[in-house]
Every structure is written in structure tokens, then in C-alpha cells.
Subunit: 384 residues, 2 copies
């Protein structure tokens, strides 16, 4: 029974100090102590999103719930939405918008490539009335970090009225993300990713501009449990419409203090270096990197043609290292390890070591040691 | 703030499932539930010592307390004791015996070497009246696994009356240890080593032969809290003279189920392979192995002449990897990593990676990647 290591792009390993908080006895959510925890947690989340002082609203649910809340809060019913995507999660926001009756125009790129800011801008220009752009910053299905700064700038240039809604589920606390400076209007994410909590809590930031331009109640698709307009005044005093997931809220401050401990920029650099080490290690043992512009949150590696990615991830899991396989057309062609959560350089090395071992377990010849050596050279390269 | 990894030869990392048990609410020790836990834990300890069905007695205290209990229970006051040692812990049992007024004859080998069974036997033959032999199975200060089977056989051959008292503090659950088959009379250890609990609980096994030959009360050095003769009937019904460390006892079964999960022999092989990987990785980056006969519980590596082991372990600790430095004359010359506890192949690789990084942090030139590659080749060599 090997030591269990969770090195997938979420849910992620939770730090021991956070687990300790999660294990504390129940408290009531209508107490001063809990309200104070809500306020402190929300303030820390704003720091992690580089929007200190702004409202970040908590949502009982997942990152998907958070995206839904932002979409319904900020976009008028029936509006046209440009859905930019080059992967499974980007597609999902188009599907969500269609499900709520929005008019959706897609702009895509092949899986593995980065969205072209000019292509996105061209589609926006061709649909002058579009109210919103949806996109994913770190596309977890392909391992691509889309160039949010450039896309947001191009989209704004094409239509100053447009609201830019961003899924930052796996980019928060892993990749550079400066929504205020980049002209982003909404950022959504979930607890089980870069902020190192278990799943169950989503969160949303809307820009001041977005709040100022939100449609009136009668012009919005109705929602109740995800109504950010109702939540905002409540959460500003530490309250909430429905019961929040109390232990997760109580643990927010501890988790985010850890995220912020060495500074956000150092964290971004460390995650990128670890991810690059996994990619380099994988290449040294016969895999191919998939993402044209790699996200630090996930290392998408195509396995050799004659290897089943599912068999490889199972072999790695049998040695205690749990990574994700691919999705959709790449389900059996790709592995997706990650150091998104409470994981570091040594975990990056562990991923590569487990891939070497997994290949051997599958009866494949592999240059044992070359993967870990290549990874280690990245980890210890001079800029470290 | 890096992830913290404890890879020293004890205290060791405690598995999450054990931490969960340790965090449970307090129970009273004079309850049926606790007595049942005592009995189950003692039975499991006997399995781990390969003496299933025999009495293993629990001691509130450390491995040192356990050694003291065994010594005072099994050896008549004022007797002559042969103390075989080639390291700090072996020396300690000689000191302990002197402190209690025993007549102590030393038989030694240089640090790093293995005790010679014939040399031990010769000293025993030269002191015909010696009542006991004390020795350490896995000498943690030097990384040597002494050949307990051969030494016990030689000692018995030299004097059939002799009681063989063995410190198995770091060999239990790490190295092959068959005290009944090897003719050993007492085995002592502590909780914070191979059985993966926090410190605070010692344990002692005495052979049936030793119990049958124990001196009468009036012939023993007096003790109260460590009186195994008083404890034996109590612990056989799950009771104890004084309060046992309740959480540690409650967690024994969970910890030992993990130790036994894949079979003891598989565990011994895995620890030995991991330890050899650390030694090979260290050699590839300029260290020298110290132990003539390496213990799987600790990888004793001499650092290069121009490196301070203390500085190296500090540099590794700054990266979150805590290993031990050397002791006494080797304090600043040796590092002693270990995978004794809840640690595995990937932790062995982590140790070597952290040593490479630590050397770089100290400004030393190092063939980056060669250490981890060498370690990985050992870990994935065909016998794996």
C-alpha cells in the first residue's frame, strides 16, 4: 500500500495546517466569529486575485456554480455571447450560455493551441451587439495557458462595451493573473485548485465596471441560490443568503496565508518551473508536450503511440501517484500531472519518476533515470 | 514556505490515517474499549516482531525506557554485561548498565564497521560469568546493520547461559528481524520509528527462555514505572500499572495494519532498496557511503571534505527536506537521510534531489541530475 500522492490538476493535496482547521468542531454560521472568518477569507481571496479591497463573493458550489453566477449577474437575458475556446472547459461555458438561452457565437482553435487574440477580436467585430466574451485562462483539458492579457485587450479594442468573463479555475495562484490591470470583468474559480482547499466553495470577482453595468433584475435570467446581486450586500457584512460550507470558509484564511506566504509572483514562478520540469522529464522518456503555451497548472503530455494513457495512469496510481489522463479525443493519449496544490519541486520529480516506473510496469523499454535527470536540470537551472 | 518533509531516522512521518486516529477525542484508559485496544495493539506488535502470540509489553516512554525495562527485568543486579558496540547507541547501553552498577565489558569495532561475531564471542568466552550481551541491531549513528543473527549465534555458542538484549529501535519494520529464530532474548524499540507513530511509547519483547530465567525480585535492580514483571499480568488483560499514552495506543492498530499491509518481507525489501538508492545517488554527486553493512533504516553518507554537513542539512531543510546530520566526531562530516517511516521510493529520490539542490545552494559544483538518475536506476532495477 504505497504512500498516496494526488498530483492531478484538482482536487489537489490540502496542506496539513488546513486539514487541521477543517477538522475543528462545527460552529454556527450566524455567529460573529463565522462572519469575521467570511470577511477575512474574502479579503485574502481579493489579495490572491490581485484586486485587494474589492468584493470577492463566495458561492456554495463548484467553479461551475461560480461561472453560472457571474454569467447570470453580468449579462442580460437573451444577449449574444462570444465563447472563445480551444478545449473542453472553454466549450462548457458556451454550452452553459446556450442552456440559459443566450445567443452563442464560437471562436475556436485546435486543442493544444493558444487562442489567437486577433481571431477573437475579429469575431467580436463581426457581432457588434455581443454583450460578453467567455474564455478560460488555463485550459485544463489541453494544458494551455491562453494569453488572457492580450485577448482581453483585443476584445476591448474590438468592442468597449463587452464584458469579459474568465474561468480562472486552474490559473488562480498558479499563473500570473491581474484582472484589474488587464481589463477583465469577471474572474471565477473554485476551492479545490490553487487555493488548496477541498471542493465545495466557488468564488467570483466582478470588476467595478461590470457591477456598474450589470443588467437590471428584470433583464437578467433568474437565479436564486447563485444571485450575486443579493449576495453582495450580505457578504459585505460577513453574512450570506444560504448556508456557506462552513469548514471551507473557516479554513480559507489559513490556506491563503500559505498561498501568499512567499509572495504571489514567487508562487507563479515556482509552479511554472515545476511544470516545465515535468514536461522536460516526460520528453526525455518519449512523451511529447501538447500545449503550445503551457499552463503552470497542468503538464499535458502525449504518451508514445503504442502506450495507453489510461494504462499508464493506472500503473502510476498503483505506485501511489495519482495524475489525470486526457479528456475526450485524448482520453487514452495524454497524461496530465500537476503541482497545482500543496506540491513542489520534489513532487514534480516524483511525477516523472512514477512515469518512468509506469512505463517499465507496462513492459516498455525506457531510459531509466533520464527523465528525472532532465526534470532535475530544469528545477535546478540557474534562474531557480 | 516549502512543503515539509521529515526524512530522518526518527521521529518519522506519521501516515494520515494514523494522524486521524490520534486526533480523536480522549477516552479513559480504564475502559473496556481502551483495554481492547491495548490487546489488539500488543498482538499486532508481536506480528511485526515475528513473535505472534508472545507478550509484547508497552512502556510509557522512549526506546531508552524500553531498554532500561528489559535490562532490569532480565539481568541480575551486579552481573557482568558484555556491551558490543560500534556507534553511539551501542555505547549508550554500556553506559546505562554502568549507571545501574553492572560490571560492563566492552567489545567494539570502529564506527562504520560491522561488529565481528567471533570477536564478540571471544570476549564472552573470556568472561565466562557474563549474564548478558547488549547490542544494537541497526546502529543509527553509523548506518550499520549489525549481523544480529550471526552475533546471537556466536554469543550463544560461547555461553549458552547468556541473555542477548537487542536494541531494535530502527530495525523493527525496516530490516529482517526474527528474534525467536535467531535466539535473541530481548528486543526493544520505540513508537517513533518503523511503526510510524509519534514518540512516547516504548515496547519490549522477552523470549520465553528469558522470562523463565529472569532473576527473582530481590536479585533485580529495583524499578517501579518500568517493572515488566508487574506489567506482564496487567497488560495480558489490557490493563497497565500507570497510565499509558492513550492516543498512541489507540493508533497502534491502524499504524501496524499499514506496516503489515503488504507483508513484512516486502516492507524490508522496499526499505533496503530505497536506502540503497539514496546511497547510490549520494555517491554519484560526491558523497561516500559510510556503513560497511548498510542498515535499511538510515543512509549514512560522508559529505565531501570541503562541505559542512550541518550547512548541507540546513540548506536541505530550507527546501523543506529534513534529514539528520552526523553524530559526535561525524557531526559535521555526515548526513543521515532515512525512509524509515511513512516514506517510499519517491521520498528516496526527493532526498537525493534535495542533496543536489543543497550542494548548489552552498555554491558547490555538482553534476545536476546524476544523483537522481543513479537513485532511480537502483529503484527501478529489475528485482523491483
Amino acid at each position: 500500500m504505497p504512500v498516496q500522492r494526488l498530483l492531478a490538476p484538482g482536487p489537489v493535496p490540502v496542506p496539513p495546517a488546513v486539514l487541521e482547521v477543517l477538522a475543528r468542531p462545527a460552529v454556527h454560521h450566524r455567529t460573529a466569529a463565522f462572519k469575521s472568518a467570511v470577511l477575512r477569507g474574502r479579503a485574502r481571496l481579493a489579495e490572491v486575485l490581485t484586486v485587494a479591497g474589492d468584493d470577492v463573493l463566495l458561492v456554495s458550489g463548484s467553479g461551475t456554480s461560480a461561472f453560472e453566477a457571474a454569467l447570470l449577474a453580468a449579462v442580460p437575458a437573451g444577449a449574444t455571447i462570444v465563447a472563445a475556446h480551444a478545449g473542453k472547459f472553454g466549450e462548457r461555458w458556451g454550452e452553459m450560455a446556450r442552456a440559459f438561452g443566450f445567443e452563442v457565437v464560437d471562436v475556436t482553435a485546435p486543442w493544444g493551441e493558444a487562442l489567437d487574440p486577433e481571431a477573437v477580436a475579429a469575431v467580436i467585430r463581426a457581432h457588434r451587439g455581443a454583450a460578453a466574451l467567455t474564455l478560460v485562462h488555463s485550459e485544463t483539458s489541453t494544458g494551455v495557458l491562453h494569453d488572457l492579457q492580450a485577448i482581453a485587450a483585443a476584445a476591448r479594442g474590438a468592442s468597449p462595451e463587452l464584458v469579459v468573463l474568465v474561468d480562472a479555475v486552474t490559473s488562480v495562484a498558479a499563473a500570473e493573473l491581474r484582472p484589474r490591470e488587464w481589463g477583465v470583468d469577471a474572474v471565477v474559480a473554485g476551492s479545490q485548485k490553487g487555493i488548496m482547499l477541498p471542493p465545495g466553495l466557488g468564488y467570483v470577482w466582478l470588476s467595478e465596471r461590470a457591477w456598474a453595468r450589470c443588467p437590471a433584475r428584470g433583464d437578467r435570467v433568474p437565479t436564486f441560490s447563485l444571485d450575486l446581486h443579493a449576495e453582495r450586500p450580505l457578504q459585505r457584512r460577513g453574512d450570506s443568503g444560504a448556508t456557506l460550507p462552513v469548514p471551507l470558509v473557516l479554513a480559507l484564511e489559513t490556506a491563503l496565508d500559505l498561498v501568499l506566504a512567499d509572495g504571489l509572483e514567487a508562487r507563479w514562478r515556482s509552479k511554472a518551473r515545476c511544470n516545465e520540469a515535468i514536461l522536460a522529464g516526460g520528453e526525455a522518456i518519449g512523451c511529447r508536450r501538447f500545449a503550445a503555451r503551457p499552463s503552470p497548472a497542468v503538464a499535458a503530455l502525449l504518451v508514445p503511440e503504442d502506450v495507453s494513457a489510461g494504462a499508464l495512469t493506472n500503473a502510476m496510481a498503483a505506485r501511489g501517484v495519482r495524475v489525470a489522463a486526457g479528456q475526450d479525443a485524448y482520453a487514452d493519449r495524454m497524461v496530465r500531472p500537476s503541482v497545482l496544490g500543496d506540491a513542489d519541486e520534489f513532487d514534480a520529480l516524483t511525477v516523472v519518476a512514477a512515469m518512468e516506473a509506469g512505463f517499465l510496469d507496462l513492459g516498455r523499454s525506457v531510459p531509466v533515470g533520464e527523465g528525472v535527470a532532465a526534470a532535475q536540470r530544469v528545477l535546478l537551472s540557474p534562474a531557480a
